[in-house]
Structures are given as structure tokens and as C-alpha cells.
């Protein structure tokens, strides 16, 4: 029997934002959520249900108003900004919906830049990753010289470059046509598996969600999304 190790543990996570009208909008209110090492979970939710905010809280990009996020034994919610930066650089890989590649850098430079904030640039590993995602011949191409699907592959390679324990993917197929989306999703899942990384993917695409054994509905775990009138400001 293989014992799964708990990688991500969330308790009573809350995040609110002030609105221009002066009221407070609660976007995330999650009593409990967890993810095991190497586990691949898809999170579904409608637009405005707090998916991106949730991922940003896990990644330490946002600091929660309350609750606890523990990643790989490290309480990220209690860490200072530098600690969260370090954790993000070494433990988390993030695939953004819009890929967020740096346009002035080539494919390999985009991957190397991500590495440089973590364990350090390793050109050979960066090349291997880009070859793995089918871009071995385009290492020195700039993002604008690539198709949307190819840009997303660079983003996948970059997310895996620091050998993260957790890959967060925010609507990674949102900008792709169905065929490319299926291919891309397969690639993300395979490469995460090959590298032993857990995957937490958010999407509202049924086709994407159907590929996962483990699918959670944000409405079930996020009380802010589940409440009637979720997304409405309360003063």
C-alpha cells in the first residue's frame, strides 16, 4: 500500500476585497481543502467564483485575510513576503491563462528566467524541457514568433523548470481551440506526472474537466461562491 503524502492543506481560508463603493466583497471562504503529493485535481467554477484568487492565495501572490495555507509543510499564509517569494520560486509552478511569457525574451530565456529566481539557471534542463514539449527547434524564438499553442507549451516548460512539487494551472486551455486544448492538457498532465508534481487545474470547460478523475466544484468548497448572491458586495 502506498501512503500519499499531504502536500497542500488549507483551513478556513478567507479573502475579501474592498469595492469602489466602499463595501467589502468576500471572494474566498474555504473551510478546508487539501491535495496529496503527485495528485491531479481539477477545480471547476463559474466565472467570478474566485478561482484565480484561490490559486493566487495558494501561490502566495495574495495574502489571506484569515485561515491557513500549508504547502509542503510550510505555512505559506504566515510567511513574510520574501518567504512566499522563495516558496513560489522553488515549490510552485504556475501556468497562467494568458501564459504571461515575457515578450522580450526567447523561449529558452523565458524558462531560464524562471529558474534564475529559484535554484539557478540550468540551460541543459531548460533545453530538455522545451524539447519535451516539442519546442526543441525553437529555443531561440521569441513568443511573438510562436503560435498560441506553442506559447502555452513554453509556459508549461517554465512552470516545470524548477522541479516544483505543485503546478497551478489557471484555465490553461482557455485560449486554445479544442484540438490544441486536448493536446495541451495531455502534455501538462504527462509532464507533471513525469516530474512528480501535483497539479491543481481550474477550468470551467467540461471537456477539460472530463479528463480528470478528481474534479471538485468550487461552489462546494468555497462558501463565498456557494452563498446565494455570491460575488455581491456586502457592507
Amino acid at each position: 500500500m502506498i501512503l500519499a503524502l499531504l502536500l497542500l492543506n488549507i483551513e478556513n481560508l478567507r479573502k475579501s476585497f474592498g469595492t469602489p463603493g466602499g463595501s467589502v466583497l468576500t471572494v474566498v471562504d474555504i473551510p478546508a481543502f487539501s491535495l496529496d503529493s503527485g495528485q491531479q485535481t481539477a477545480l471547476c467554477g463559474t466565472s467570478g467564483s474566485g478561482k484565480t484568487t484561490f490559486l493566487n492565495l495558494i501561490a502566495g501572490i495574495l495574502k489571506p485575510d484569515g485561515g491557513r495555507v500549508e504547502l509542503d509543510g510550510c505555512p505559506i499564509s504566515e510567511a513574510g513576503e520574501a518567504g512566499r517569494d522563495r516558496l513560489r520560486a522553488r515549490t510552485i509552478g504556475y501556468i497562467f491563462q494568458t501564459f504571461n511569457l515575457l515578450q522580450g525574451y526567447t523561449c529558452i530565456e523565458n524558462v531560464l528566467l524562471g529558474m534564475s529566481f529559484g535554484p539557478g539557471a540550468d540551460r541543459r534542463w531548460a533545453s530538455e524541457l522545451l524539447e519535451r514539449v516539442g519546442l526543441g527547434q525553437r529555443l531561440d524564438h521569441f513568443p511573438r514568433q510562436l503560435s498560441t499553442g506553442q506559447q502555452q507549451r513554453v509556459a508549461v516548460a517554465r512552470a516545470l523548470a524548477n522541479r516544483p512539487k505543485l503546478v497551478l494551472a489557471d484555465e490553461p486551455t482557455g485560449n486554445l481551440d479544442p484540438a490544441s486544448a486536448a493536446e495541451s492538457l495531455g502534455l501538462i498532465r504527462e509532464t507533471c506526472q513525469e516530474n512528480g508534481a501535483a497539479l491543481l487545474l481550474v477550468s470551467h470547460d467540461r471537456g477539460v474537466l472530463g479528463q480528470f478523475d478528481n474534479v471538485r466544484d468550487l461552489a462546494d468548497i468555497n462558501r463565498a461562491a456557494a452563498w446565494p448572491g455570491a460575488g455581491e458586495a456586502k457592507s
Partner: protein, 386 residues
């Protein structure tokens, strides 16, 4: 990219200008106060010491007046004087001065171990003949060689309508000395004194007497005797002091030039600040992406400061090119006008501190945009809140 190039160019201009102003000023002062042509002092008619030195050593300006031949002989016979060389001026050829001199000028060391020498193939003029030994710079400009002839014009300033004198033969070209002597056409003093058109009554007069003294005490004594107690002659001694006074007089002009150069440097630093600061708005997303990938605030801050320093370093490097162009032009002009040679390649401390100062200013200018980058909100600039 274009704004980076323009900013680096403004840094290059500032750095080049800073170095040029400092080097021209320092080298010019060192050269002008260092040139004494091997003499300790100059005797001339009662008047300005500076004019006397400029006229007799640098071959600039008009002569303040004449001394009689008897006065020259009295100076030469003075026991405190080791060597006395009389000179007479008053004519030119296409702007290059003719200076009448005795041949003992060529026995004086104008610099330690260096005497004026005539190049191979030439010889020293015969004091009784219409012959000329031409300074290297003048010969080069006039394209003269031994055996060429010329007819001098009357007056120190070239005027093609002025009277012309008897024909002279170039008997020798001087080795370059990098002194004002390179711009002079040297002829026998008797020749200049007796040129047609000159006043026969003053035919034996001299414009100045260059002297080498036996001791420093002699200089002090003669200064007392001729300048403080006497009222017939002026004794410019020591020569370097007279030139120093000139530079001290123009010190405010130097200060203004330095201030302008420093202002240009500040404006250049300001342009780095403005250029990077303005680009920060466009780069907010780029910064947010880097932060999302794990870059710390301090890393982003350092990247922006390094970028500013990098632009400044690029400009400072290019500044050497600007410096070389400005200095070459300045050195050419000063040599053309005075015969003094400036060396743009000679090391000066400003060549280290000016580029370093530009680098420091660049880094300093980077602090403001770096602070803006430091404060960039990651979530706000990365993805919209859903």
C-alpha cells in the same frame, strides 16, 4: 530601445564633455606653465610681464616695445646671466612669425637634455645671410623643404597687401620640439632688424632678451633691481609664475565650464530617470510576471538599478569616443594657434572618476523608477480578480 540609445548617448556626451573640460584645462595649464623654452626669465620694454612672455616664449601677442642693442649687451654682460638670447619680431609669412635670433638659441636646452636641432639635410643659418631655419609645424603646414625660398610680409598679422621683403632661403627644418618654437620661422636677428620697411633708427633694437640665470638668487635680485626699483625694463621671472597668473585670472571661466559639464551630467542622469520611470508603466505586467515566478521585490529593485547603471556604463564607455573627438579637435586647434601639444591619450585621473561618477549618477537615477517597480502589485497587474 531608441530611448535607451538616446539616453546612453546623452551620458556619453556628458562623460566626454566632463573629461575634455578637465583634461584641456589641466593639460593646458601644465603645458603653458611648463613651457619656458629653457629660459629663466625674459627682459623687455617696460610693460606687462604676461604680454612679454606671450610674445617672446609663446610667439603670441604683439611685442610690448623694444630694448636697445646696448641694453641687450648690458644684460648679456651681467655676471648673474649665464646666457642671453636676443629676439626680434615684426614680420610673418602667411601668419607664421619670423623671429630674428642669434645662433646661441640652438645651444640652450629647451627641455632637460634636449636642444633645438636641425633635421638631416639642413643646416643652421649663417647670421650674415638671408637664410631661415623653419619650425617643424610651420614647415609641415607651408610644405617647405630645404632650398625653398620665400618673401616675408611686414607685420605680425598676415596681410597680403602689406609690404614684402627680400627673398629668404630655407636652409634647415627643425626637429619637432612640441614647443611654440615649432611654429616659428627663425632667421638671423640682423636680417630682421635690417629688413626693408623697418625704421632705420631702431634697426639695432631687440624685442626681448631671453635669459638663463646662474642661480635663483640672481633672479630674485634682478627682479628687485629691474621691476621694483628700476623703471626702464620689465623682467618677467620666473616664466611659469607669469603664466600661472594668467590661468588664475581665467579660473572663473574654467569654473563656469566645469559647472556646465556637471550640469550636462545631471541632465543626462535625469534623462535616465525619466526614460526608465516612463517605461515602468508599460512594464508593470512584466514585473508582475517576474514576481509571480518568484522574483523578490529586492531583486526587481536591483534589476531596475542595474538597468540604469548598465545604460550609464554604456554611455560612459562611449564617452571615451566623445572625449577623443573633442580632445583631438581641441588639441589640433591649440597646436595650430600656440604650438603647444596636448596629448588626448595621456592618462588623467578624470578618465577614471568621470565614467565612475556617471555610473554612480546612473545608479542613483535608477533608484526612483526602481522604487516604483518595487511597489508594483503582483496580483493587480498579473490577472484580474475573478
Amino acid at each position: 530601445m531608441l530611448s535607451t540609445v538616446i539616453t546612453a548617448f546623452s551620458i556619453a556626451l556628458a562623460s566626454g564633455l566632463l573629461m575634455s573640460v578637465w583634461v584641456v584645462k589641466d593639460q593646458a595649464r601644465a603645458s603653458f606653465t611648463g613651457v619656458d623654452s629653457g629660459f629663466d626669465g625674459v627682459f623687455g620694454a617696460r610693460g606687462s610681464k604676461l604680454q612679454l612672455v606671450l610674445n617672446s616664449i609663446f610667439h603670441l601677442e604683439a611685442s610690448p616695445g623694444n630694448l636697445s642693442w646696448v641694453q641687450y649687451e648690458r644684460i648679456a654682460a651681467d655676471r648673474r646671466v649665464a646666457t642671453a638670447v636676443p629676439i626680434a619680431v615684426g614680420d610673418n609669412y602667411l601668419g607664421y612669425r619670423l623671429v630674428g635670433v642669434t645662433t646661441n638659441l640652438f645651444d640652450v636646452e629647451y627641455r632637460e637634455g634636449k636642444k633645438y636641432a636641425v633635421r638631416d639635410g639642413g643646416y643652421l643659418f649663417n647670421p650674415k645671410k638671408k637664410q631661415a631655419v623653419v619650425g617643424s609645424f610651420a614647415a609641415e603646414r607651408l610644405k617647405w623643404k630645404v632650398g625653398d625660398t620665400f618673401r616675408p610680409y611686414h607685420g605680425l598679422i598676415f596681410d597680403e597687401n602689406s609690404d614684402r621683403h627680400d627673398e629668404y632661403v630655407v636652409c634647415g627644418i627643425m626637429e619637432p620640439s612640441n614647443t611654440p618654437a615649432d611654429r616659428v620661422i627663425w632667421i638671423p636677428i640682423a636680417g630682421l632688424q635690417n629688413m626693408a620697411g623697418h625704421d632705420p633708427a631702431t634697426a639695432s633694437d631687440v624685442s626681448a632678451v631671453l635669459v638663463k640665470l646662474r642661480s635663483k638668487i640672481s633672479g630674485m635680485m634682478m627682479n628687485q633691481e629691474f621691476n621694483l626699483q628700476g623703471d626702464v625694463m620689465t623682467f618677467a621671472w620666473p616664466i611659469a609664475d607669469t603664466m600661472s597668473k594668467l590661468f588664475n585670472k581665467i579660473a572663473p571661466v574654467e569654473m563656469v565650464l566645469r559647472a556646465v559639464a556637471l550640469l550636462v551630467a545631471l541632465v543626462a542622469a535625469g534623462s535616465i530617470l525619466a526614460s526608465i520611470y516612463n517605461s515602468m508603466n508599460e512594464r508593470r505586467r512584466e514585473i508582475a510576471i517576474m514576481r509571480a515566478l518568484g522574483a523578490r521585490r529586492s531583486t526587481i529593485f536591483a534589476i531596475v538599478v542595474l538597468e540604469a547603471s548598465g545604460i550609464a556604463a554604456l554611455g560612459a564607455l562611449a564617452g571615451f569616443g566623445v572625449y577623443f573627438v573633442i580632445m583631438s579637435a581641441a588639441a589640433w586647434f591649440i597646436r595650430q594657434e600656440t604650438g603647444i601639444v596636448l596629448n588626448p591619450l595621456e592618462f588623467q585621473p578624470v578618465m577614471v572618476w568621470a565614467p565612475l561618477a556617471m555610473l554612480g549618477l546612473g545608479a542613483l537615477a535608477g533608484l526612483v523608477p526602481a522604487a516604483k517597480a518595487y511597489r508594483t502589485d503582483v496580483a493587480e497587474n498579473l490577472t484580474p480578480i475573478s
